[in-house]
Symmetry: none
Subunit: 223 residues, 2 copies
DNA sequence: ATATTGCTTAACAGAACGTTAACGACCCAC
DNA sequence: GTGGGTCGTTAACGTTCTGTTAAGCAATAT
């Protein structure tokens, strides 16, 4: 999930950025409304955090401009939170308010809450391939109706490969995308998880037809 | 369709009124519970939007008074809304909740949703799954007809999970949605409440089939 | 043939979860 | 007030499960 933070105070920008990165977001920053608009157009973030008070054009103006062609969730940062400001913010389509000075964890929590509300979790789609179903909402994977009890990693790996069906991924890429960019584990680990998955979803694990090895490259999921 | 909005903050009243007019509703407004009651009797609106906190008589009182002789749909506006507040509202006959600060489009969407629902089947708040019934209106949960005496938190948690049956929720999400967005309690607290619930609704609490653990993710309710 | 790449297994360490008990806050009856 | 009870939270400990690694074996390409 991409978040764009716009604030003219560098220190705030940095602390917020650090916190949100820790929480797993891709963070973009801008120190002015103009930069904010430009980066917004390029990065297409899933959520904006805007300071209300910005030089030249205020955050409110930026909000208005963005609202003209998008429903992206917006959280306002504001020093004073008089009721008047709040109303003005909602009129323009803000989804939440955080008052400075704010608690970093609270901000992170609100970001998540807003994203949850606004997306309604539509990003988590059901995957179906033949008699195999992978449902991230219920965290269930079923084969011919029978539930496969997968471990968290197994599920994550299968879901990722299923979502990008047909495409080959190297072990390193899989580690990056499934395990996460910060994980330092051996590439062999992927082999083991693939093995376990095959045991569950392949008719004959030693002759896989779904989780296929591409020698010298990696693995892919075929329908 | 006629809508009556009761709130003591003029700015909110105005923005909501503008938005709903744009959406094609006839809007009436009142700034106090007394005015609200009077206008309600005159205008006979098809839906009410009530602020929970009003001077003198609270919105809740007004709701109760109106419910005595009418089944008109009511949406509450509230500053903070945990699942407990929500249930309290349902007990008094509220049809939906909108949390301040709210997004105007969201409010409009809910107004339409409630109206759509109210013209159709009425009691959709009740949850039934097998021999388990959960009724927020009476705050009763029964298993095979026998009443389980659940504590408020237990009930709120069970009701939330039951309402979103099948879907997995992380402990953090549960804290946010059931405990409320402002609560800062340890995630393990959820475990304990789940444990207590299992003791009541599971045949064998150590092998749960209704309140299921999804390792690495959280919990879900299965029918 | 031999080097490279992938497969398989088992063992270990640590994380996640379950469970219990204790504590304090709160409410209600007296 | 005062005492008893309930409820929610936390901490601590035990248990189960999962992820990772290593090491040897099998398969494949050059």
């Amino acid at each position: 999930m991409k978040v764009l933070v716009v604030d003219d105070e560098t220190t705030i920008l940095e602390t917020v950025e650090t916190k949100l990165r820790k929480e797993g977001f891709s963070v973009f920053t801008a120190e002015s409304a103009e930069d904010g608009m430009r980066i917004y157009k390029q990065a297409k973030p899933d959520l904006l955090i805007l300071d209300v008070m910005l030089p030249n054009r205020s955050g409110m103006d930026l909000c208005r401009a963005i609202r003209r062609d998008s429903k992206v969730p917006i959280i306002f940062l504001t020093a004073k939170a008089s009721e008047q400001d709040r109303i003005q913010g909602f009129e323009m389509g803000a989804d939440d308010y955080v008052v400075k000075p704010f608690n970093l964890s609270e901000l992170a929590a609100r970001v998540k809450a807003v994203l949850r509300r606004s997306t309604g979790d539509p990003s988590k789609d059901l995957i179906e391939s033949g008699n195999l179903r992978i449902d991230p909402k219920t965290h269930d994977a079923t084969l011919e109706g029978k539930t496969l009890s997968l471990s968290p990693k197994e599920f994550a790996l299968l879901y990722f490969l299923g979502r990008n069906s047909g495409q080959v991924f190297s072990r390193d890429t899989l580690l990056d995308r499934v395990w996460g960019p910060e994980s330092y584990v051996s590439a062999r680990t992927v082999d083991v998880h693939i093995r376990w998955l095959r045991e569950r979803i392949e008719i004959d694990p030693s002759h896989p037809v779904r989780l296929v090895t591409v020698r010298g490259v990696g693995y892919k999921f075929v329908s």
